[in-house]
């Protein structure tokens, strides 16, 4: 049997931006009816590749070949017309309109005078919905649907054209297990119709469950393609990071201090319920779980951004009510937030001002800000954290992601908190800086800080935490010590699987 023609082929794609070669000769081919995983660390080039494929960027070199023809993609609409459809992580729907209107957005069937042909619209939509075996109909308002169903609407949009390739970007991030099964059935259905599926994800279990082949990118370069059946997690990981994962458990060489923070029965509506844990000085407590497990919400509650609906918080043995971030900071709690650009930094301000913002009222000489003291603080943490910037006057928005994150960390370290909460410390940061930050966190613990680390990366949370709180759907499933945790039992816990050992 001769090899089938790939539905989609990328040859030698090169894309450079000022100062960085985002894609360096990437080639890929997607066969009809296969599920082809695209993997790589953050910053490996996956999203740039997708943007090139979708026509948002034009490649500097290389070809995109659909079927037999090389093509030029001029934009998402053009890509769709050529049979390449994207299902993005952020759903792009108008939630006030109906399912039908969303599916046919921009191409509503018309009658005379610009009137919408509603009968035709609903009929076509219902045909597609039937194929997907969904429980809602064409007239349902999209805003009323669950996330999983909204994703189905996106997929339905893909089916309005004769799709040759459908690209899924982290589709299961917000889905329950039952919803995932439905998604996989839909994917299988697409496969039988000869559609080529590109599956971008970090979740190993899924990759090894549904994909046929895995292609890996690292630092903009194509590393290779493996047949899923012929490799394993370690093999893929090695290709992704160029080394085997250092899953060494944390070794603590210092004594733990007193309990700095204790939380009893803490709940916040349906976001999280009945959370209990105790955090010692000198300890790193990791919080691991899927998106929506409630970890960030707990951090926000501890930082005064949310009001708990039940439960108590104790700082150094004393019960407290934390009413606002100002209050939390005054009590010695600092939060390095999840999204540094929208929550951690004022991008238009310079490095020094960003770093001293929480304490600017205390750095005074007379009624004015003591700018010398500010610069001293900036210099101190610039050296300590190895922040690369031409000077403190540099606008923070111009720094790289890693350096921006270091500014945020420096900002909070300079507050000398007793409890430091770090939410996704190394998201979107290059590998070198990642290691630096991990070492820093361990060093902080050794100095007596009480640290909470929230992370979605298993190697990270295993690497830095003394104990790990595994959460699923707002509940603490289990708290592991670093001796007893394994990848398997951790994954089980965060996937909702109960075990005999309680928290």
């Amino acid at each position: 049997m001769s090899d089938p023609t790939p539905v989609l082929r990328l040859e030698g794609i090169v894309k450079t931006f000022p100062g960085v070669r985002a894609l360096d000769g990437v080639s890929l081919d997607i066969l009809p009816g296969e599920v082809h995983a695209l993997m790589g660390e953050n910053g490996a080039g996956k999203s740039t590749l997708m943007k090139v494929l979708g026509g948002i960027h034009q490649p500097d070199e290389g070809k995109i070949i659909v079927g037999e023809q090389p093509v030029v993609m001029s934009g998402p609409l053009d890509a769709k017309a050529k049979g390449i459809v994207f299902i993005h992580q952020e759903l792009s729907l108008a939630d006030e309109l109906s399912v039908a209107e969303n599916i046919y957005l921009g191409e509503l069937p018309r009658k005379r005078f610009g009137l919408v042909d509603r009968a035709e619209l609903d009929a076509r939509t219902n045909r597609i919905l039937k194929r997907l075996k969904v429980g809602f109909n064409a007239k349902t308002r999209v805003g009323d649907l669950s996330i999983a169903n909204q994703q189905m609407v996106e997929i339905a949009r893909a089916l309005t054209v004769d799709a040759k390739a459908v690209i899924f970007d982290e589709p299961t991030a917000s889905l329950t297990d039952a919803e995932k099964i439905v998604l996989f059935e839909v994917i299988a259905d697409l496969q039988t119709q000869g559609v080529g599926i590109v599956y971008i994800s970090h979740r190993m279990e899924e990759i090894f469950k549904i994909t046929d082949r895995i292609s890996v990118l690292r630092d903009g370069q194509y590393q290779g393609t493996l047949k899923t059946a012929e490799t394993d997690e370690e093999g893929v990981t090695k290709m992704m990071i160029g080394r085997t994962l250092d899953l060494t458990r944390v070794e603590r060489h210092h004594e733990l201090g007193a309990v700095a923070l204790e939380v009893r029965g803490l709940s916040c509506g349906h976001l999280f319920q009945d959370v209990n844990f105790a955090l010692h000085s000198g300890e790193v407590l990791g919080f691991y779980g899927l998106v929506g497990a409630g970890r960030t919400e707990i951090a926000e509650t501890l930082f005064g951004l949310r009001n708990p609906s039940a439960g108590t918080i104790h700082l150094n043995g004393e019960e407290v009510r934390i009413t606002s971030p100002t209050d939390a900071i005054a009590r010695g709690i600092s939060l390095v937030p999840e999204d540094r650009k929208s929550q951690g930094l004022v991008l238009g301000m310079n490095c020094r001002d960003n770093m001293t913002l929480p304490q600017v009222s205390d750095l005074k000489s007379g009624p004015f800000v003591a700018e010398g003291a500010e610069v001293a603080i900036f210099d101190q943490y610039r050296d300590k954290l190895d922040i690369r910037t031409p000077g403190w006057k540099q606008t923070v928005g111009n720094l790289s992601g890693g350096n921006q994150q270091k500014i945020v960390i420096g900002k909070w370290l300079s507050m000398h908190p007793s409890v430091l909460i770090v939410d996704e410390p190394t998201r979107g940061i290059d590998v070198g800086s990642k290691a630096e930050i991990h070492n820093l966190i361990r060093a902080l613990a050794a100095q007596g800080y009480a640290v909470i680390v929230i992370s979605s990366e298993m190697p990270e949370v295993l690497h830095v935490s003394d104990r790990i709180v595994a959460m699923y759907s707002g509940r603490v499933m289990r708290t592991f010590t670093s001796e007893e945790v394994t990848e398997e039992n951790l994954i089980q816990a965060i996937s909702g699987i109960e075990s005999d050992k309680a928290a």
Partner: protein
Amino acid sequence: MTTLTQKDVGTFLAKQGILIAFAIFMIGFALANQRFIQIDNIAGVMRSSAILGVMALGVTFVVIGGNLDLSVGSMMSFSTIVVLDLHDKLGPALAIPAMFALTLLLGAFIGFLVGYLRLNSLIVTLGMLSAIHGLTLTWSGGKNMDIDDKAGTWFSFFGQDRIMSIPVPILIFALVAVVLSLLLAKTPFGRKVYAVGGNGQAATFSGIPRARIVFMTYLISAFCVATAGLLQASRSMGSQNTVGQGMELEVLAAVILGGASLMGGAGTVFKTVIGVLILGFIQNGLLLVGLDFYVQYIVTWIIIILAVWLDIAAKRGRLWSPIA
């Protein structure tokens, strides 16, 4: 950073473009009418810019904080009318603080709605424009205000006298400018205003009491409006109750001309002063060239749109909008 990118050149042109255009205008006006560059004309422009200028300084704080204040025009009418009225009822020594108190109360109300209740500042201040106008009409009974004994009071000091041959309004404008400039650029409060306007969410995450900061910006704006009202009342010793009508847009034009971004987080007091002067000279020039008074409105319209357009264009790197 050694290479100049196209974006840098574009940004430079956008910012200095306004100064260049202004320079061209000035030369044009001077050629058209000699009077334009005569000292007493220039002094006159600066003196009458003082009132608008003081208001613009206050609005600068509000805009840097990420909001708008469209009520300043009618609030200024209110201040002028109230202080004139109270002058004859309570005497100048009591009338002035009383007027300030009332104006600050209005500012506090707006600050509460926008800062603490988080309502949209455009709609709220537009509504307050109308409400305060009504308040002014009620207070004045629909009539114009006049001071009875104009010669027998020291009230005219603010608007008409000179200290060391500099008109008092200009001195007051300069004083307020210096104080506010220090407040904005050198104090923790000023820093926080920039933070709240630049990224309100990040400011909250840094422990900054966003509501209070926004509230304070409206108080500052009201204080400046009260000062402007004082200057106006003192200058003319009598006034119609629509004296401030339309000024909110001129103030906004001056602030925008000075380079403050309407999205918040950028701008300075000094630049607003420049904007005020530019606007003042353009208006003066138009009059001297013999154009209709209302041509100013058209020119202000063009200026506002042009200034914001160039600012946005510089930021996105393209002149024309990429909207499909």
